[in-house]
């Protein structure tokens, strides 16, 4: 089927909606992130059991994208009741079919339980979901991402249909301007301004690009959107292309995301088949095509000009700006680049109006933001919250706080380009300006929580190792500067730090920020600077007292066995790669410090908390 007009689409949607029975039972299963935790086996078990119980025709299995609550994977929701089950295994499925599907009762063992023992059987009540507002993730976990019909039934492609018949390109840009949407890739540049630059740039041929090269370690927001709702990105791009006057769009996607690539391929093919992509879209005379490009593994390609070089088939090295891509981008033509989350916002803004969007968030940061919560936090997963909520709410109310009763130490936003936010700044509202003022950045949405067992010097070294490794080598400040900084951090962690190192790090950091060619180098020193500002005492402990307070830096710590607690079970003895631990069965063991390499395996293996670090 190929839609010839917006009204064609509308009547098709009405028919689709009418054919849906709101009381029909369905099981929504996450088949993206949860795959890593055996979602496929769970789905098969549901299929088998439904068949065995003769329910296969009356209950649907909907294979969805990410539900967000990854910590409890694999998860499913049983509709229309909205019952949320977590931590499922194939073995328990017959029980769930019997009790919930057949009898409508709840299987208590698999509902969410908070630390006070309160149970929340319904998805809408689970604290993790309660504070969230889902705009970008509106369809994630709800629809089958490989079904364009599912997307259409949920008002999909209505925004582009309305835009094509009711709005001029400039009016579209105006709506985006009024909504206050800012780029979600990290820097927060006003989207409408970017679009109008590309629109007003001279030249007939223009390009738009979706930056899906999500490379920050600890970030998986864009992946979830592409996997769980690819059409929302395609529709956003269509609207942007119409506004800018572009006929060709590219999606540059990380090759490490095979499911995202698969779902995009299916989505683009379906959209072409139905007339959302191609010539004369919905009878409007607007032509637009989308080409998928897979990256080949280079973090720097997340930078606009490097990404363009990569699409052109070259080494992904950035160029001096200006000229900005809006003037001279892909193949030298005006080019507009936005990231996945930005594009995924556009259709909703068009449908619900700019006032609705601008009604969420703060003065300068409108709408919502998707975060990937990870690290030492209970509810690891994907969340979407209105801008302006505090970090405390995000980490403790949505994220469920720090596991194992450990103490919160800091949150790192913006990955290797960002900074850490200590406990005393937890009441900081999440918006672009507040985070920047604290020395961190919004970034693309990775948020790593660390507790007292994380060494901030080691963490800074970790990020710098990453950026140094990914530095493309084109400009000296980034190539050499990050290397020198890393050498200093390494010697501090190894106990060879010198008193002047802190000043030296600071000096280098400032110079690298000022003089680097692209965003990679300009932000690479951020993790070092923020840890220096917030946790200077840890640096000083390493340098002056040769101690690592968090017990992480190997050269500065030693492992010991508490003879009172040791039961002589022998786990550590067998696990030790150095054979440094000896002892008879059922008798307290001993650790030979001269053999120990501080790998910490013994501590991880001990079930009795008998190994400690000094």
């Amino acid at each position: 089927m190929r839609f010839k007009s917006g009204s064609d689409l509308k009547s098709y949607r009405e028919k689709l909606k009418q054919s849906l029975d709101p009381n029909r039972m369905s099981i929504r299963i996450c088949m993206t992130g949860c795959r890593a935790y055996g979602a496929e086996a769970m789905r098969d078990a549901f299929k088998e059991e439904l068949k065995a119980q003769n329910l296969a025709d009356s209950v649907d299995i909907v294979e969805t994208g990410c539900h967000g609550f990854c910590a409890k994977a694999p998860v499913c929701v049983i509709e229309p009741m909205g019952i949320f089950y977590q931590g499922l295994t194939p073995k328990v499925i017959p029980d769930i079919v019997e009790q919930t599907i057949k009898n409508g009762s709840i299987v208590e063992d698999f509902v969410f339980e908070d630390e006070n023992g309160n149970k929340y059987p319904y998805e809408k009540d689970v604290p993790f979901y309660k504070t969230q507002v889902r705009v970008v993730l509106r369809n994630c976990g709800r629809i089958n991402p490989t079904s364009i019909e599912d997307y259409i039934a949920n008002d999909g492609y209505e925004a582009i249909a309305q835009v094509l018949t009711q709005k001029s390109p400039n009016e579209v840009i105006d709506v985006v301007k009024q909504s206050g949407l800012r780029g979600r890739g990290g820097a927060g540049f006003p989207t409408a301004m970017k679009w109008s630059f590309a629109r007003s740039a001279p030249g007939g041929e223009k390009y738009i690009i979706c930056n899906a090269d999500e490379g920050d370690p600890g970030a998986f927001m864009d992946r979830a959107v592409l996997e769980g709702d690819p059409h929302s990105v395609l529709e956003g791009m269509m609207i942007g292309a119409y506004a800018i006057g572009s006929q060709t769009g590219y999606i540059y996607v990380r090759a490490e995301y095979p499911i995202a690539v698969e779902h995009l391929k299916i989505g683009i093919a379906k959209a072409e088949e139905m007339g959302f992509l191609g010539d004369n879209i919905l009878g409007s005379g607007f032509n637009f095509r989308i080409i998928l490009k897979e990256g080949a593994g280079a973090f720097v390609c997340g930078e606009e000009t490097a990404l363009i070089a990569s699409i052109e088939g070259r080494r992904g090295m950035p160029n001096q700006r200006p000229p900005f891509p809006a003037v001279s981008g892909l193949w030298g033509k005006p080019t507009n680049i936005n990231n996945v989350e930005t594009w995924a916002n556009v259709a909703s803004i068009m449908l619900n109006g700019p006032e609705w969007y601008a009604g969420m968030g703060t003065e300068t940061s409108k709408g919502t933001k998707v975060f990937a919560l990870a690290g030492k936090v209970n509810n690891t997963g994907l969340v979407e919250v209105p801008m302006g909520i505090t970090l405390k709410e995000l980490i403790f109310d949505v994220g469920g706080g720090v596991p194992n009763k450990k103490k919160f130490k800091a949150a790192q936003t913006g990955g290797p380009s960002g900074g850490c936010i200590p406990e005393k700044l937890l009441d900081l509202p999440i918006d672009y300006e507040s985070l920047a003022k604290a020395g961190a950045i919004m970034g693309s949405g990775g948020l790593i929580v660390v507790d007292n067992e994380t060494c901030m010097v080691d963490m800074a070294k970790y990020f710098l190792t990453f950026t140094q490794n990914e530095s493309c080598g084109k400009c000296v400040p980034c190539r050499m500067g990050t290397k020198r900084m890393l050498e200093i951090l390494t010697r501090i962690c190894e106990g060879d730090g010198r008193p002047e190192d802190i000043d030296l790090l600071r000096e280098l950091a400032e110079k690298i920020k000022d003089a680097s060619l692209c965003g990679l180098g300009q932000t690479a020193p951020n993790p070092v600077l923020t840890t220096l500002n917030q946790f200077r005492n840890e640096y000083e402990e390493h340098i002056n007292n040769k101690k690592c307070p968090a017990g992480v830096c190997r050269a500065l710590i030693s492992f010991h066995i508490d003879a009172e607690k040791c039961t002589g079970c022998g786990r550590c003895r067998t696990a030790c790669p150095q054979k440094a631990i000896s002892g008879e069965k059922k008798k307290a063991h001993a650790l030979d410090q001269s053999l120990c390499i501080q790998c910490g395996i013994c501590k991880g293996e001990c079930k009795f908390d008998a190994i400690y670090v000094t």
Binding site: G33, R35, A36, Y37, C70, A71, A73, E214, G215, D216, P217, G218, A219, F220, R223, A255, E256, Y257, K293, E294, G295, A296, G297, A298, F299, S310, I311, E312, G313, R314, R315, G316, M317, W331, A372, A374, G375, K376, T380, G381, Q412, G415, G446, I448, V450, T454, M459, Y462, F463, F466, E470, C472, A575, P577, C599, G600, I601, G604, E605
Partner: protein, 164 residues
């Protein structure tokens, strides 16, 4: 057919791929990706053949494959072990997991065992932070690892592989 150390390489397999891509703009990377898909890695013969057929200078081809992490110039192992070194994995002990696997296999990250059974790699982030620390063997995730648990899986695979 041209002979190489790795065995016979049938370069004619490349012809349809080159034909398909050579006239479109910016097709060098997709072409190299497709070639690697065919042979598992990019041996010199393949690169020279692409150069001959497309007239893209060999220097540019080498420039590209040495820039991006996902191009390989050496044959890879039967099983690919990817140990995540993302931030979440780092704060949860991912480095210890990697080191124990390195000790166990006797190779460093980026290398392949001599019997071509295992290639050990690190990745910046697998995007499955809820499984941290995590590794992937082929398309299977192994999460919430301890160094011991990480090598047990590998030892088991090796036992299943070697008929003794």
């Amino acid at each position: 057919m041209e002979k190489t150390r790795g065995g016979d390489i049938d370069l004619t397999l490349l012809d349809p791929v080159i034909e398909e891509k050579k006239n479109s703009k910016g097709s060098l990377i997709p072409l190299l990706q497709a070639a690697q898909e065919l042979y598992g890695y990019l041996p010199e013969e393949v690169l020279r053949y692409i150069n001959k057929q497309t007239k893209v200078p060999l220097s540019r081809i080498y420039g590209v494959i040495t820039f991006y992490a996902q191009f390989y110039q050496k044959p890879r192992g039967k099983h690919i072990i990817k140990v995540c070194q993302g931030t979440a994995c780092h704060v949860k002990g991912g480095k210890g997991v990697l080191e124990e696997i390195e000790r166990n296999l006797g190779i460093k990250a980026g290398e392949t065992t001599e019997d071509l059974k295992f290639t050990l790699e690190t990745v910046a982030c697998l995007g499955t932070c809820f499984l941290a620390p995590v590794k992937m063997i082929d398309d299977q995730y192994h999460g919430k690892l301890t160094p011991r648990a990480a090598v047990k899986v590998i030892e088991k695979m090796r036992k299943a592989e070697v008929p003794s």
